[in-house]
Symmetry: C2
Subunit: 213 residues, 2 copies
């Protein structure tokens, strides 16, 4: 049965899922790259960006699980790009170039309607203006027997957690403090929401934790 | 030269240094024990409570470092006990019985004056009513060449971090969510305060991180 999963989500030791001041130059916010140091050296990431080599091992295993097996994705507007408010034109097509790493229907939460964009490699971006329940319904339909990934950013993950829709969440906690940024769990009671740690694998670059209901 | 250190401080993955609703029955707050699962099996902890055996290894190494080499301790009032407000009498002498694990002068931050209490094993509790700067000055004097430990709880550690007095902080991050409790870093900008990760050793039970300026 389809699961709704958060996976490969980076967090700093002081609780930030992204740095502050996201921009075109800093899609993850200032210093946000620091929380993905476990991911960049992996073979999975290097393949994503068309490079050879890369590490295999525990970090790469989690990277693979974070990218594979999904039949649909849901992303927040800010995860899709730095544009705010109404779409000025159809120029912006995501951070990822012509062939995004999703390779599946990808639903973007936004208040501003826009026609779908078919990209190379099987990714089509659909813009959903009527809320997370609608996006989830569409994503489940599109995913068939495969899983739905809540791809971020922080606010989107928080909304789906709070609504009780996330079946499983893989967090990669980096051993660094960001100081400022988007707090992932502030005000969320993970225990009351029903989450328990079901997997815990520390590596040199991150502590991998899987929460599930 | 004397360093001011926080050490052996447990935190849940969602950022809590203690559970909610501290009481006589739950000195660490509800579910607070979950964040010290790395500590209880160690030989160091077992010796502290008069038991034999226990694990050696990385967790025990950090446990030792968290307890040894200190010439004075500073504790918040709630770390000392569940009594609030004025001291009703001289009955309460800490959570730890006649021979507390400090074995050095230990300064308790409180708004309510009280005479010092000499315990067995070298611990004397002094009650400091004129703030953290005064407590730190007294602790430094008492410690001589040895280090001063900020022993907790959460609010006390936050005050000393914010004031810039902590030279080094060892955090043991447990792979569990507490959901509620006392947030250790909320509103504190560790980067701006000058802290960087200088050590990072993950184990099965905790991710050990040492911050320093």
């Amino acid at each position: 049965m389809t699961k709704v999963r958060v996976a490969g989500f980076g967090m700093s030791i002081d609780g930030f899922g992204a740095g502050p001041d996201q921009s075109l130059e800093n899609p993850l916010g200032l210093a946000g790259h620091d929380i993905f140091q476990w991911f960049f050296p992996t073979r999975t990431f290097r393949q994503m960006v068309g490079q050879e080599g890369g590490e295999t091992g525990v970090d790469d295993g989690f990277a693979q699980r974070a990218m594979q097996g999904f039949g649909a994705f849901i992303l927040g507007r800010n995860m899709f790009g730095p544009v705010r408010g109404d779409w000025p034109d159809d120029q912006w097509k995501g951070w990822w170039g012509d062939n995004p790493p999703y390779h599946a229907p990808t639903f973007i939460l936004t208040h501003y309607p826009r026609a779908p964009i078919e990209m190379l490699g099987g990714t089509t971006f659909y813009f959903v203006t009527d809320g997370i329940e609608s996006a989830l319904r569409k994503a489940r339909e599109a995913a068939g027997a495969r899983d739905v990934k809540i791809g971020g950013g922080v606010e989107t993950v928080r909304q789906f957690l709070r609504a009780g829709h996330v079946d499983e969440m893989h967090l990669a906690v980096a051993p660094v403090a960001l100081g400022r940024g988007e707090a992932l769990f502030a005000g969320l009671d993970l225990r009351e929401l029903g989450y328990r740690t079901v997997e815990h694998v520390p590596t040199e670059r991150a502590t991998h934790i899987v929460f599930a209901k």
